[in-house]
């Protein structure tokens, strides 16, 4: 028995990777099970901000993710954009972190627009409904400039209008009535880096800010949420599913059968409806079960490795 357990340590890592890949593949191909979810309170607060921000004011999205974190950040970005489109909110997006970031955001928006077209919903049009401001290098100085005057910071940016003519972005319907950063309905940072810290430091006192960050960033962001610097926060792939789950069920909202699926027990007065149209479940729902299976496998591997180590020591007479 001890010998068998001690041999567990001899399992080659290649076989562990194989088990992982086979299990995840089987889940992604065949097991379509939407797990019930209890969203975190920070995710609930983010969804509440998304759905209650002034619909007449544009939303600013600092999109600082790239393909290296698309497993989480793309789901965050798509959930955010789907909610904005479903509730007819105009938005502006840009990056202050990486030259690749604007392009992955453009690709994600194009995918959602194709999805909406298939569903017979209105496509969001650049210039009229949203603005793509591209990259602003050097997050510290760019965000400082935004804080001082977005008229100056964005003044040189141009975008094509509906006729294809390049015009200053402040002529766009999206930025009508906007003269300073405080004029946005809400400010979201989709990030996998410290660009969110820089945004909080420079803009946190001026805007209602929400964070959509990767699992690596999550623990470091919680103090900002606790102190109210971030009004809402979703973390990692679990946060993506949180967001999608609330887009489907709302918060403290009864469904047709009269059941309240997502309850916010600390704020029972807060009634936030689900999004009125379009796709709700996406990357989070697809990958959530696979994540649980991966984590279970890892816990088993760690347990097996530790038991194997104890068994080996016992056989060698090192542990009584």
């Amino acid at each position: 028995m001890w010998k068998l357990l001690a041999d567990a340590q001899k399992i080659k890592r290649e076989y562990l990777f194989l088990v992982l890949v086979v299990s995840l593949s089987a889940t992604l191909i065949g097991l379509k099970k939407a797990l019930p979810q209890i969203p975190d309170s920070n995710s609930m607060d983010l969804y509440a901000v998304m759905m209650t921000s002034d619909p007449n004011k544009p939303v600013f999205i600092q999109s600082d993710w790239t393909n290296s974190t698309r497993g989480e950040s793309r789901g965050h970005f798509q959930g955010l954009v789907r909610s904005l489109m479903a509730t007819n909110r105009k938005f502006v997006f840009y990056s202050v972190a990486d030259p690749q970031a604007p392009q992955v955001a453009r690709d994600a928006i194009r995918t959602i627009n194709q999805e909406r077209k298939k569903q017979g919903l209105r496509e969001y049009k650049p210039w009229d409904d949203y603005l793509d401001l591209g990259l602003f290098p050097n997050a510290e100085n760019s965000l400082n400039a935004f804080s001082n005057s977005i008229k100056s910071a964005w003044g040189g940016r141009r975008a094509k209008d509906s006729t294809g003519r390049e015009r200053p972005v402040f002529d766009s319907p999206v930025l009508q009535g906007v003269t300073k950063i405080e004029d946005c309905g809400a400010y979201y940072v989709v990030s996998a880096s410290n660009s969110i810290d820089i945004a909080i430091e420079r803009l946190g006192t001026k805007v209602t800010m929400g964070g959509l960050v990767t699992g690596v960033m999550g623990p470091g962001m919680l103090p900002y949420y606790r102190s109210g610097q971030l009004k809402g926060l979703t973390i990692g792939l679990v946060g993506v599913y949180d967001l999608e789950y609330m887009m489907e069920h709302g918060i403290n909202t009864a469904d047709e059968a009269g059941n309240i699926v997502v309850k916010n027990r600390t704020k029972p007065e807060q009634v936030i409806p689900p999004v009125p149209e379009g796709t709700t479940f996406g990357q989070g729902a697809t990958n959530n079960l696979a994540l649980h299976i991966a984590l279970t496998l890892m816990i088993l591997a760690i347990a097996l490795g530790n038991v194997g180590m104890i068994a080996k020591k016992k056989l060698e007479g090192g542990t009584k």
Binding site: G71, P99, G236
Partner: protein, 251 residues
């Protein structure tokens, strides 16, 4: 070739690159190295184009040279002093020359100066609210319930504010006080761990210091766990790309 075929080729190449990159899990090999170098080259090339197109051209070249309207008319005048930025920027590259490397300190000094100036203000923006949120009460003021009670109630299917909601909001219930106590002990013990300028003596102080170390370790453990989860999320997304986007299985 139509758009659909192009998309398929695009996805297929992406999937092959993913398989090539993950082949390193088996062992280091030529396919992995090739794909890695293609990726790095693409990323570097993309960054150069992006920096010119999104940054230098818009924020430096156009304001310096001035703009014309679409029909060729005068729009805005050029601002020639922007020319001075070019040699200052180039000075950064003198770091590669031993004799002239002192010049690279000029642009670096400008950037550091700007950054340092900002720190004075942002330090408080960043830590001020956190310090404020750390000042939490510890002694319960309400005894009618052990647990915090909601400020609203359900009346005939409608959520209504309780008449004494303001009073309830002002109360601190025992559960909240316990929560605040745990927070404060964690905060102080973690800070105590970084007290290097005084000699920590005595069982109580050393124990408190040790508690801080445990709290930090728990925090780092949580960060490590989140990091592992993030890596899994990435591999799951890549597998989804192969099975669902490329091979159209599991759709």
């Amino acid at each position: 070739m139509n758009q659909e075929n192009l998309t398929y080729i695009n996805v297929m190449l992406g999937s092959l690159a993913i398989i090539g990159l993950y082949s390193v899990l088996w062992r280091e090999n030529l396919v992995y190295r090739t794909v890695e170098h293609i990726f790095l080259g693409l990323a570097a090339g993309y960054a150069v184009v992006g920096l010119w197109k999104d940054t230098l051209y818009i924020q430096w070249w156009l304001p310096m040279t001035g703009k014309l309207t679409d029909d060729g008319k005068f729009d805005s005048p050029g601002f020639w002093p922007y020319m001075l930025l070019f040699p200052i920027g180039l000075m950064a590259y003198t770091v590669f020359n031993k004799e002239k490397s002192w010049m690279s300190r000029i642009p670096i000094g400008i950037i550091l100066g700007l950054w340092s100036g900002q720190q004075i203000q942002i330090y408080w923006n960043k830590f001020g609210p956190m310090i404020e949120a750390s000042m939490v009460p510890l002694i319960p003021t309400a005894t009618d319930s052990f647990f915090a009670v909601p400020t609203t109630q359900l009346v005939n299917g409608r959520i209504e504010q309780k008449a004494n909601a303001v009073q309830i909001l002002a109360n601190l219930y025992p559960t909240e006080a316990i929560n605040n106590l745990i927070f404060l002990v964690t905060l102080l013990s973690a800070l105590a761990y970084f007290l290097f300028s005084v000699d920590i003596k005595g069982k109580a102080l050393m124990g408190f210091n040790k508690l801080g170390r445990w709290m930090l370790m728990i925090g780092f453990g949580a960060i490590f766990g989140s990091t592992v989860m993030a890596r899994f999320a990435l591999v799951i997304d890549r597998l989804a790309y192969i099975w669902q986007d490329w091979l159209k299985l599991g759709v």
